[in-house]
């Protein structure tokens, strides 16, 4: 299958404001150190790493919330690495994002209906309101939720609204950034199952960022392991779990406490 994303030697550095001198520019920290990988159409790619591994930065570079310092990000053949915000705007409807903290990613003053339909209106979709309702149907929330405010919903419901907003534009690609890490296990599974169903039904390509290998084993078809801004492993899921090659991958697996008191762990 064709590659939806091609990432080539991606570098990204950000200014370190904590070490900014009184005059002059802040020193830059290199967060992504030359990453290369592809995301084929229809794949569910897991991006795994600890805090500071650069996984969120990578995600934000893919949907161009951040501009890479060098290297290339190609989306469906188009180079989007350094496109201006204005040039990106018409393309944005094709790659959407679901955020880690749905509370922070929704304007607290807007009702659910408006939150979901805002991207539709911005891209001039006719009958945005009806499309937003259909998106609510898709994620299994009643249409009456369109008049609620985000703070009136439970964590799991809020994250469903986040998913509804992302799929409303019928994008080709969705980036999910740690979207279940703030949820209780009981709603985690529901959100993951929903996401899996939508990927199948809508023919999406998905990148799923997580720090937890347990969560993504079932969902993802391939996994990229990041460590200190570099890819240490990029394997099909089964291969990675059966035969983890990188030392860091093994360390991550060993660190997961399985719910079994008889397994020696420490």
């Amino acid at each position: 299958m064709a590659d939806l994303y091609e990432v080539e030697n991606l570098h990204l550095s950000l200014p370190d404001m904590t070490r900014k001198p009184l005059f002059g520019a802040a020193p830059r920290i290199e967060i992504l150190k030359g990453l290369s990988f592809n995301i084929p159409e229809g794949e569910i790619l897991g991006i795994v790493g600890g805090s500071g591994s650069g996984k969120s930065t990578l995600g934000r570079a893919l949907v161009r919330l951040l501009e890479p310092t060098s290297g290339a990000v190609r989306f469906d053949g188009d180079d989007v690495t350094h496109l201006s915000e204005q040039a990106l705007r018409p393309m944005r409807r094709r790659f959407q994002m679901i955020f880690q903290d749905p509370m922070s990613s929704m304007n607290p003053r807007h009702r659910v209906g408006r939150i979901i339909s805002a991207p539709l209106r911005l891209h001039g979709v006719e009958n945005a309101r009806e499309a937003a309702r259909e998106a609510l149907d898709h994620v299994g929330l009643p249409r009456s939720f369109e008049t609620r405010y985000p703070h009136e919903l439970s964590g799991g419901q809020r994250q469903r609204v986040g998913i509804a907003r992302a799929i409303a534009l019928r994008p080709d690609f969705i980036l999910a950034d740690e979207i279940v890490s703030g949820l209780d296990v009981s709603s985690q599974a529901q959100v993951l199952a929903l996401l899996e169903r939508l990927v199948r039904e809508l023919g999406l390509t998905l990148a799923f960022i997580s720090h937890d290998l347990s969560v993504i084993r079932r969902l993802c078809t391939r996994i990229v392991v990041l460590h200190h801004g570099e890819i240490v492993e990029n394997e099909p899921t089964a291969e990675l779990f059966d035969n983890p090659r990188a030392g860091y991958t093994r360390e991550l697996l060993d660190a997961i406490p399985l719910p079994d008191p008889d397994e020696p762990w420490f």
Binding site: S105, P108, L122
Partner: protein, 283 residues
């Protein structure tokens, strides 16, 4: 959590009504001062000097709050004085807010060089001692209503700019502006549609606070005779004149002081009340 919210709502009610009521009454008094005033606020009658308020035995009928040393009616002067006070509060407050909040919003959300310029400007501005600065300004511009308003705006815009900048920065660090960007919204539109409404409660609270401050600043400048011409009645001017005869005629200074106090208190309470009312999480 839930009980905490409802408590806030319960307290916001009477606060909003009382402060709003006082300010509405004051606004009506200012508009209809010529109908409501029992006497010409400037008319002097030396035979009726220092008459006490109505409940004292030696009071002169028709002069409810007594008269000052020149025989002018205190009530009428307070009513006319509210014109100056409210004009300054509304115009100076609004202008200060517009200028300060715009600069703060731009600096806080856009960051980068805009922020550098605005922040440095604030730093430099705040190094000037405000009272001296305003007296100097009025000395240069000449006394008058417009000078007072300019002085207040010039001194106080930094109050808005600083607070709104910090608040816009905090809102900008959340994910919903990023989410708007992913949806394809422009930076300017994100600032106005997403950020501004969330900063608005803070701006409103500051605005009403600023109106109260404007009333005080006007009174202070009147007190030191730097406000508008000494003939027009102002609360500050009345307090200044009443100070001389505080032992012989306490009412000349006490009534304008009470009015001033209630007005400034009402402005700040109105702001707090509106802020709670505006918050969708508290509502």
């Amino acid at each position: 959590m839930l009980d905490g919210r409802s408590q806030v709502r319960r307290r916001a009610g009477p606060r909003l009504w009382l402060s709003g009521g006082w300010l509405t009454a004051l606004a009506l008094a200012a508009i209809f001062a010529s109908f409501l005033s029992p006497h010409d606020p400037l008319a002097q009658d030396l035979f009726l000097g220092r008459m006490p308020p109505f409940w004292v035995d030696s009071a002169e009928p028709g002069y409810f709050l007594g008269t000052d040393s020149l025989g002018r009616d205190v009530l009428s002067r307070i009513l006319y004085g509210s014109r100056v006070a409210l004009t300054v509060a509304l115009i100076a407050g609004t202008l200060t807010c517009l200028i300060g909040a715009s600069l703060g919003l731009l600096a806080g959300y856009l960051r980068g060089w805009v922020d550098v310029v605005v922040s440095r400007l604030i730093d430099i501005w705040m190094a000037f001692p405000p009272v001296l600065f305003s007296i100097l300004l009025i000395a240069v511009l000449g006394p008058g209503l417009i000078s007072i308003i300019i002085a207040i705006v010039v001194i106080d815009w930094t109050r808005f700019a600083r607070v709104v900048r910090a608040e816009a920065m905090a809102q900008g660090a959340m994910d919903y502006p990023a989410s708007a960007q992913v949806a394809g919204r422009t930076r300017l539109s994100t600032m106005l549609v997403e950020i501004l409404p969330n900063v608005l409660p803070t701006i409103v609270a500051l605005l009403t606070l600023e109106m109260g401050i404007a009333v005080i600043v006007e009174a202070i400048l009147s007190f030191v005779n730097l406000s508008i011409s000494t003939d027009d009645p102002t609360w500050g001017g009345m307090i200044s004149e009443g100070r001389v005869s505080i032992y012989q005629a306490w009412w000349v200074i006490v009534f304008p002081l009470i009015t001033l106090f209630l007005t400034v208190l009402s402005f700040s309470q109105l702001g707090e009340g509106l802020k709670d009312r505006f918050d969708p999480v508290l509502r």
